[in-house]
Amino acid sequence: MKLLSSYIKEMKIAARGFYFYVELGIAIIMLLILLFAIAENPDSKSKEYLFNDLPDAMTDAFVEEDIEEGVARWADDAELTLKPIAFEITNEETGELASYNYDEEKIVTARVLEKVNTQTGALTGTTYILDNEEDMIRLSYAEQAIGATTSLDDTGRLRYKYYLQGYETDRMVDLLYVLHNEDPDVFAASFDSQQVRTLDTFGTLNSRQGLVPLFVAFAGSLMGFFIVMAYIFLDKDEGVIKAFAVTPSSVWKYLLSKTMVIMTTVVVSSSIITIPVMGGQPNYLLFYLFVITTTFAFATLGLLVASFSKSLTQAFGALFVLAIMLMLPAFSYFIPSFDPVWLRFFPTYPVLQGYKEILVVGGNVGYVLMYSGVFLVGGTLLFLLANIKFKKTLTV
């Protein structure tokens, strides 16, 4: 009861204050950026890269068929620049890992097949046909587009190897299987030797959705960390903590009610950012579990920092260093090649990863649950420490 009324009181104070609206304002700005400044798919026409390990005559025969049907047409050959890149792919079936690392830029020529809509004649996609498998793989990962190799097996059956980014929907992967299983002749061969490889990043997220984890982590957990401190320092300024300390209610109730206010605010702000962009796709139960546990951990970290200082100015040094540290993992988010192991120890790293897993179709629920647990336990420890510290420093 005391906790509830304390929470209601803190909510009232927050709603009449400045920081609450700062938090919501930032969330709205982030949403506007996502909706209006970030295109859903920068290049909405689909691209694919092919290597046909087949006799030329066979390739041409396939293409001729498509051209006759009016679904494809030849375009001029293209010069493609292969930028330096490093990536890893796993064989879905065997789990085998292969690393690719290219330091040199390379220019190759590809035959270009344009796919057209038979009714409108509009261009719907482009297929680049490369003359070797390696370039095809490299391009498909550099461009984050699907890649495929077609070849013949010993018995003369067609065999397909797909190189996927890992963010294709399950539906699409199923489709690939179904597509080649239609023909009973292909079935055995294609199914048995089907090698679907995935790259272990991103998810089913388009470029707009890909930013949601970052924005939610920032407007959510990280803001919670700052704002809880702002609230505590406002109270220290007003001296109301002292008044609280001479009641039968315990300090932890005061601290927890503050934390609950932050969690409420962050639930609202993260919803503002996430729901309009992601729609009904994510598992919101998991999403809010993660929002609440991560915010709890960050808010309690804020409490602990606040317990050591008299004022925001005094806490500024610690704050500055912490803020930079907490933001570092965002770099790795944008630069996949920058992912040192030590970065994983920064608490924002699993926050970003966790949100990614939640928003991606078929994401790693186990990861999210595990880190929800970690943040809950970590937050509880920080909370206990903050509580001890606050009991001692009430008059400071």
Binding site: K2, E238, V246
Partner: protein
């Protein structure tokens, strides 16, 4: 209600003591005053008694609870009015009291009634942030009465208030005294100490110099002073002299013999004069 034995406190945990080896007892129903100049250690003592400062050294029981052990429930019986007002600026006067009341396990008083009592009627719905310093102080004072405290801590209850409001506050304290509330009151105002306290402790530099009733103090030190106004070189000169002091006695007869006396009467010493006599220092 309060028992303090050999209490010392140092903010820096060193030899500089804000409170130095003080002992006193406060009886049930009594109003006990701490009188001393600013920086004497009054608030420090109150903050230790109310648990805001950790007890470092000494034996202290408050309302029957040993301060060495944590008993949050003791606050159901305790009310604290702070020297510096500390209410939520973002909450209205009434909300401030309403939410504070919820923190107690005992029956609490009606916020509206308390607001009216301290002369803030009509301001119930105004946010405390818009209040003047004096109004905030009154709200802080009103809040300390919410839980009908048996033991009431008042740190400088009238300081900074205009005289009319100070009078209201004094009336409220007297009213509570009649109801049997035990009070611990700190002040640097001798009139407050004189008018409201059953017993007064003189405190300076963290040490208690004396504890007695204002009446005894005046009996002992009072009626021994003579105010003389006389004319010297066409100017009126005023002197206050002690009738018990040999040097002063001589001076009195000198004045009487040499000058034209305008007025001359013996008077009761004020607590401040007694304070100066006892401690050698004034109250400011």
């Amino acid at each position: 209600m309060i028992s303090v034995k050999n209490l010392s406190h140092s903010y820096n945990k060193d030899e500089t003591k804000a409170v130095n080896n003080i002992s006193f007892e406060v009886q049930k129903g009594e109003t006990f005053g701490f009188l001393g100049p600013s920086g004497a250690g009054k608030s420090t003592t109150q903050n230790i008694l109310t648990g805001l400062l950790k007890l470092q050294q000494g034996e202290v029981t408050v309302g029957g609870f040993d301060l060495k052990k944590v008993h949050n429930e003791r606050f159901n019986k305790i009310g604290v009015s702070f020297e510096q007002s500390n209410v939520y600026g973002k909450l209205t006067a009434k909300e401030n009291l309403k939410f504070y009341a919820k923190l107690f396990d005992v029956e609490t008083r009606d916020p509206d009634e308390l607001i009216a009592l301290v002369g803030l009627q009509g301001k119930e719905k105004v946010r405390a942030g818009e209040f003047s310093k004096g109004m905030k102080h009154r709200l802080t004072f009103a809040r300390s009465m919410l839980n009908n405290p048996e033991l009431w801590f008042l740190d400088e209850p009238t300081t900074g208030l205009d005289p009319a409001i100070a009078a209201t506050i004094k009336d409220i304290i007297r009213e509570q005294q009649k109801k049997g509330t035990t009070s611990f009151l700190t002040t640097h105002n001798m009139f407050i100490a004189d008018e409201l306290c059953d017993r007064v402790a003189f405190i300076i530099d963290g040490e208690i110099k004396l504890i007695d009733t204002p009446k005894n103090l005046k009996l002992e030190y009072g009626k021994k002073l003579i105010d003389i106004e006389y004319v010297k070189d066409d100017k009126i000169v005023k002197e206050t002299l002690k009738t018990v002091d040999e040097h002063d006695k001589k001076r009195i007869s000198e004045i009487v013999n040499a000058y034209d006396i305008r007025t001359m009467h013996s008077k009761e010493a004020t607590l401040e004069e007694i304070f100066i006599e006892v401690t050698g220092r004034g109250l400011v």
